[in-house]
């Protein structure tokens, strides 16, 4: 499954399980946060990705991180 800040490109090329990441420069992070807060965010994104891997989806599905 594909975590990216550019889900439109992902669905264009045919990716089926896409989670929208934070930014191009830091897909799984956010330097504006404290280290602990950033790791917590990263965990949320990864857990969302795992959830999507375990879920049946329509083609080109894009999930957000709550």
């Amino acid at each position: 499954m594909f975590v990216t800040a550019l889900p439109t490109i992902a669905t264009m090329i045919g990716a089926n399980r896409v989670v929208r990441g934070v930014a191009i420069t830091n897909v799984f992070g956010d330097p504006s946060r404290s280290p602990a807060s950033e790791v917590a965010l990263r965990r949320k994104i990864v857990e969302r990705a795992l959830e999507m891997l375990e879920t049946d989806v329509e083609p080109g599905a894009v999930w957000e991180v709550a």
Partner: protein, 403 residues
């Protein structure tokens, strides 16, 4: 706003003497070489950074290229003189390693098969080749090159003051455009890059970092408010000259009140770096277009890569707001990004195509290309290396079709 643009053909201007009288001493340069190159000469220009048309604000020459060179004064008004058929071309190789610029060579071939891939094979080019000092940084060097190039453009054009022009064009524009029976209102959403030092378009001399979509006047676009400081994606980026002579802005102004109502120009940043920033900017651009009562919009692109996502998200936001759009993009083998709402796209060419090999008699700017090959004998050249070949404001007539 009203702008008078007076044209003076280059053949009537003594470029050589003016150039000879100019000083280029600057602590950031080890050397500056100058050359005047004509269309049809067997010359290849390499390491081309930018090209600017010689222009001067007649009433206040010091305000030429306001903010970038001149004092801050609103562009797009009064009288501007231009040397028609000429360009000041800046060539330079950056001193320090600049990783993303590898293989982003910029070329202009004055004749041969590459000539049709750049506007600047048809202009008399005043070529400035800059060599940096040992210790100068990329950014300091770039700033000096950019300023010098604009200064030369202004000082060359200053020769026209007081002389009779060949012709004078008068442009007028008011926000909202010129009404007419059943004319559709069209907005131009103009993408301008901001990706960090060496990848910036300058608006009145400042970068678009943190920029949100903003209404600007089309006459400002034509009159030096926008200058180029971006040096990647040679074929896809927007050199200064392309803003000054924008076929799209000129075309929309000419059609205003006749085939459409030219509602206005919305400047948009390309390369917003986070997903949220991209979505927000797209939403705000579409919202502004709505506020201008636009029923249609043309969305341009600047350079390559994720700026194409900014274009597509803007298209999507406009369509969802009821504004029908046309996007202008270059292809790199195919589209870089796409949304289903982008059902009307102008393709300004495929940058991955190759132009047949050509051996110039002379090379100016640097004998070795950025990838190490000899400039005078480098084999077939990809379209992506020719300056402005696939400019995504639509200034050339190249198009990609399926074979």
């Amino acid at each position: 706003m009203q702008l008078e643009l007076a044209s003076y053909p280059v053949a009537e201007i003594d470029l050589e003497s003016t150039l000879a009288g100019m000083a280029f001493a600057d602590s950031r340069f080890a050397a500056v070489e100058t050359a005047i190159v004509e269309p049809g000469e067997s010359v290849r220009l390499t390491h081309v950074l930018d090209a600017a048309e010689p222009r001067v604000k007649v009433e206040d020459p010091d305000a030429t290229f306001p903010g970038a060179l001149g004092t801050l004064r609103r562009a797009g008004e009064g009288r501007t003189n231009r040397i028609a058929g000429a360009a000041v071309v800046a060539c330079a190789n950056f001193p320090a390693e600049e990783r993303p610029l590898h293989e982003q060579e910029g070329l202009v071939d004055m004749t041969g098969p590459g000539a049709e891939h750049s506007l600047f094979s048809s202009t008399t080019n005043v070529v400035l080749s800059f060599t940096p000092t040992e210790s100068v940084s990329n950014e300091e060097f770039e700033s000096a090159v950019r300023e010098t190039k604009l200064r030369v453009a202004r000082d060359l054009a200053a020769q026209t003051v007081g002389r009779e022009p060949l012709h004078v064009e008068t442009f007028t524009h008011r926000l909202g455009g010129t009404e007419g029976d059943g004319l559709p209102a069209v907005a131009l959403l103009l993408q301008l890059s901001s990706l960090g030092p060496l990848y910036e378009i300058y608006l009145y001399g400042t970068t678009l970092a943190g920029f949100q979509p903003t209404v600007i006047n089309p006459l400002e676009v034509l009159d030096g408010a926008l200058t180029c400081g971006e040096y990647h994606w040679a074929a896809l980026r927007n050199p200064t000259y392309h803003f000054q002579n924008s076929a799209l802005v000129r075309g929309l102004l000419a059609a205003d009140g006749k085939r459409l109502r030219f509602a206005g120009v919305i400047a948009c940043r390309g390369y917003n770096q986070s997903a949220n920033d991209k979505e927000r900017a797209a939403m705000l651009a579409a919202k502004l277009a709505r506020e201008l009562s636009a029923g249609g919009a043309i969305v341009t692109t600047d350079a390559g890569g994720n700026s194409h996502t900014d274009t597509m998200l803007t298209v999507r936001a406009c369509e969802q707001a009821g504004i029908r759009t046309v996007a202008i993009v270059a292809e790199m083998g195919g589209l870089t990004d796409y949304v289903p709402e982008a059902d009307a796209i102008v393709s300004v060419g495929n940058g991955e195509e190759y132009v047949a090999e050509w051996l110039p008699d002379r090379v100016i700017g640097g004998d070795t290309l950025l990838d190490g090959r000899p400039a005078a004998d480098c084999g077939p050249v990809p379209v992506r290396n020719y300056l402005g070949a696939a400019c995504q404001m639509g200034d050339l007539d190249l198009r990609a079709v399926t074979w």
